[in-house]
Symmetry: C2
Subunit: 429 residues, 2 copies
C-alpha cells in the first residue's frame, strides 16, 4: 500500500511518486500545515480545489485539543477534518523544543511572532508570558520529554511511545519518530548527547510502531528524523542511523539553523541517504529554500509560511526571472513592482497603492481568488478586517506554492530544473 | 426592468416576485447583510451556493470605507464584491441614529454588543469610548445630519442628497431614502417633529434621485421609509406619505421598538400600504419576527442575526413544531435538545456535549457545512478559534433562513402559511 518511486532526476534533484492508502503524492511536494486539524482559514474543499495532494497535522496541538481520543472516536483525522487524501503528522518534538530551549534561548517558533508581526490568533498569553520571562515550559530526560501545555499549563510526560500512540490514533498515512531538536546556541557536546538520546528515542518509536496492533493493517508508515545541529559528523551519523533502520522515510529536522548551514547539512548527508526512501525537509517552505532543498535531493516540504503570510496580507507572486524587471512593468504588475519584497516573493496588499487596482492578486494565477476578485476588493477586506480577507489571501498563497511544486516536477522531468531555479532565484540570492 | 407582482396570498401574507436588472427575488425574502461589501465570513459564491437571491449593503460603512468613489471606479458594488444578483443599500440613517441618540439614550446597535457578548471584529475602540461616555457622535438639523466617523472621528455632513448620490454611485438595484430614526425614549413631540423632517428628507431624496442623470437608464429604484416611533397617528401618516409619493417600495423602520409595538405598528399601517409596492421590514430577522412580519404583509427582511449568531457559535435549528419534543429526542437531536435556546432557535456548538457528536450541525439541513462536517469538528474549530469555524457556522445559519423563506413562500402558495407559523412558533411565543 506504501511505495516510493523516483520517476525522473536531474543531478540530485528528483521527481517521484509516493503511494499511500489515501492516494498518490507527486514529489517534490508541499504540505500545507493544518496545525489544529485545519489549514488556517481554509476548508478541506478549498485545498482540493487548489490541487493540494497532502496535508500536515500537528500531533502536539491535536493531542492537547481536541485530544487524540476524540479524533479516534470521530474516525481518525481524515474523517474528522473531511480530508480523504494523504496526510502526515509530525511527532510533537518541534513544539516540545519550542516550549523548552526555544523559550530559554529565545529561538524558534515563538520568537518571530513575539518580536515581529503579530498574526491573528496565533500567539497565546501563556506563550507571551513564558517568553518574556524566559521560563522553560519543557524539560528533556532519558525516558522522554515533559512539557507544560500552552493552553492550560498542565504537565504532560510525552515519551516516544506516547507520541507514536497518539499518531497511530490520529491515523495520518505518514507519521514521524520522536526526536529532540537542539538550539543553535547548544554546543557540540550537548548536541552530541542529545543526538544519541534522539537515536534511542527513534529506535523506541520504531519498535513501538512496528509492534503496534494497528500497524499490521499497513495503514501507516513512519519517518525517522535526522538531527545533529550544525555539526558535520553528527549530521552524517544521524543520516546513516535513519538510513540503516527500518524507517519508510527520512525527515530532516533542525530548521532553526541559518540557511547557509542548512544547505551545508543537506550536502553532508546526501551520500548517506537511502535513495529508496522519500525525504521530508521539516518546517521549510520559502521559495529559495524549496529550490535549495530540491536541488539537494529533498522530496517533501511543509511550512506555515504561505498561510501565515496570507493572513498578514502578504501576497505571493513571481515578478522576476521569466519576467524581467522591464516586463514586470506590464499592465497589472506596475503596482506590485513598486512594493515588491524580493526576499519574500510577496507584496503587501494592504498598501494604499492597491485601493483601486482592478487586477487580480496575480494576473498569471488561476486560483479561486484570482479568478473571482480584484486587488482593490482584497485590499478593502484587509483594511476593514473582514474575515473573508484571510481566506482569499490564503487560497492564493497555497495555490502559489502548489503551482510552484508542479512547475518544479515538470522541470525535473524535462531536465531543466537548474534553469528553472536560476530563473526563479536570480534576483533574490 | 423593475416590477413587483403578487403571485399568491393568504390573509395579509403574500408571496411575490420582484424583478430587478440583476435578476428576480422571490418574496418573502431574507437579505443577508454585507455591511462592508462582504457578508461576514462568506464569499459571494458561498451565498450563491446557499441559494440567496439578494444581499444588503450598508451605505454608511461603504461611504467611509472604501469610499463610494472607489466602489464606483471598480464598476459598482456588484462588480466590486463579485455579486451579480440583486442588491439593496440602506440610506445610512440607522447608523447616523446609532451614533447620535443611540449613544445618548443607550439604545440600538451598539448596546447589545457593549453589554453582552462581544462579536469578532465588530466593536471598535472609538465606539466603546463614545458609548461609555454617552457622547453623541451625530447631530440632526433641518438640512441634514452630521456625524463623526466611528473609524477616525472625522466629521461628515450627510444630507439626503449625499446619501442618494452615494447610493447611486454604489449602484445597488434598490436604494432607500434618508430618514431619521427616533429612539424609544423620545416623546410624542420630538417624534412628530422628527417625522415631519423625515418626510421633507424623503421628498428631497426622491427628487434628487428622480432628477439624477444615472436614474434615467432605469438601473435603480428607491424605497421610502415609514417612521413615527410607537405612535399610531404618526405611523399611519408616515405610511400614507410613502404610499402617496412616487417610491417604488416601502421600507418600515424603527426596529428598536419592542416586538409587541412592532406588531401593532404593522397592523396600524397595513391599510395605508399600496399593495403594488414591495415592503421591506428593516433590520428584522429572527424566526418569530419573520413570521409576524409576513403575517402582516411584509415582503423583505434583513438582519445581521444569522451571521452574528454564527460567529458566536450559535447554530440555528428547528426542533419544535413538526418535530415534537418527543421526536426532538431522535438520534442526532438529543444533544441539541439538551442545550436548545427556544427563543433564539439555536444551540451553542461550543458546549462540551458536542465534543464527540458525529452528527451534522442539523441532520435535516443540506448546506455545505452540514453535508461535509460534523458537530464535533465545528465544536473543535470554535474551541481552537480557527477561522474556518466562523465560515462554516455562517454558511449554515444563512442557509437556515434562506430555507425558511422558501418554506414560507411555498406555504403561502398552498394556503397553509397559518399552519406553518403555528408549527414554527408554538413553543417560542
Amino acid at each position: 500500500m506504501f511505495k516510493f518511486e523516483t520517476v525522473s532526476r536531474e543531478g540530485k534533484a528528483r521527481a517521484g511518486k509516493l503511494t499511500t492508502p489515501h492516494g498518490i503524492v507527486n514529489t517534490p511536494a508541499f504540505l500545507p500545515v493544518g496545525t489544529q486539524a485545519s489549514v488556517k482559514a481554509l476548508s478541506s474543499e478549498d485545498l482540493k480545489d487548489i490541487g493540494c495532494q497532502i496535508v500536515l497535522g500537528s500531533t502536539y496541538h491535536l493531542y492537547l485539543r481536541p485530544g487524540v481520543d476524540v479524533i479516534q472516536k470521530m474516525g481518525g483525522l481524515h474523517q474528522f477534518m473531511n480530508w480523504d487524501g494523504p496526510m502526515l503528522t509530525d511527532s510533537g518534538g518541534f513544539q516540545v523544543f519550542s516550549l523548552g530551549f526555544g523559550v530559554e534561548h529565545g529561538v524558534g517558533k515563538m520568537v518571530p511572532l513575539f518580536g515581529g508581526e503579530m498574526v491573528l490568533g496565533e500567539m497565546l498569553d501563556t506563550e507571551v508570558t513564558a517568553l518574556a520571562r524566559r521560563t522553560k515550559l519543557a524539560k528533556v530526560e532519558e525516558e522522554g520529554p515533559t512539557f507544560q501545555s500552552h493552553l492550560d499549563g498542565t504537565s504532560h510526560f510525552f515519551p516516544p511511545e506516547k507520541s507514536i500512540e497518539a499518531q497511530v490514533k490520529i491515523g495520518a498515512d505518514l507519521i514521524v519518530a520522536l526526536d529532540e531538536l537542539t538550539s543553535p546556541l547548544h554546543d557540540y557536546n550537548y548536541t552530541k548527547v542529545s543526538l544519541e538520546r534522539t537515536n534511542r528515542w527513534e529506535k523506541r518509536s520504531l519498535k513501538f510502531f512496528k509492534s503496534h496492533k494497528d500497524h499490521k493493517v499497513n495503514r501507516q508508515e513512519i519517518f525517522g528524523v535526522v538531527q545533529g545541529g550544525p555539526f558535520e559528523d553528527l549530521r552524517i551519523g544521524s543520516a546513516k542511523f535513519v538510513s540503516d533502520n527500518d524507517f519508510f522515510g527520512v525527515a530532516v529536522g533542525g530548521a532553526l539553523v541559518n540557511n547557509e548551514t542548512m544547505l551545508k547539512i543537506l550536502d553532508w548527508i546526501y551520500p548517506e541517504l537511502d535513495p529508496q526512501k522519500p525525504r521530508h525537509l521539516l518546517g521549510i517552505g520559502t521559495v529559495p529554500e524549496i529550490f535549495a532543498g530540491v536541488e539537494r535531493g529533498m522530496d517533501m516540504f511543509d511550512a506555515v509560511v504561505p498561510t501565515r503570510l496570507g493572513r498578514m496580507g502578504h501576497i505571493l507572486i513571481k515578478v522576476m526571472g521569466c519576467e524581467t524587471k522591464e516586463k514586470g512593468r506590464e499592465e497589472g504588475m506596475k503596482n506590485v513592482w513598486r512594493v515588491y519584497n524580493k526576499q519574500r516573493y510577496a507584496y503587501d496588499i494592504t498598501k494604499e497603492v492597491f485601493a483601486m487596482d482592478p487586477a487580480p492578486l496575480d494576473p498569471h494565477c488561476s486560483c479561486y481568488t484570482c479568478t473571482h476578485y480584484t486587488r482593490a476588493y482584497v485590499h478593502h477586506l484587509f483594511r476593514a478586517r473582514e474575515l473573508l480577507a484571510y481566506r482569499l489571501a490564503s487560497v492564493h498563497n497555497v495555490q502559489f506554492v502548489v503551482d510552484l511544486m508542479r512547475e518544479i516536477r515538470e522541470a525535473i522531468a524535462a531536465k531543466r530544473f537548474a534553469k528553472l531555479k536560476e530563473n526563479w532565484v536570480q534576483y533574490s540570492e
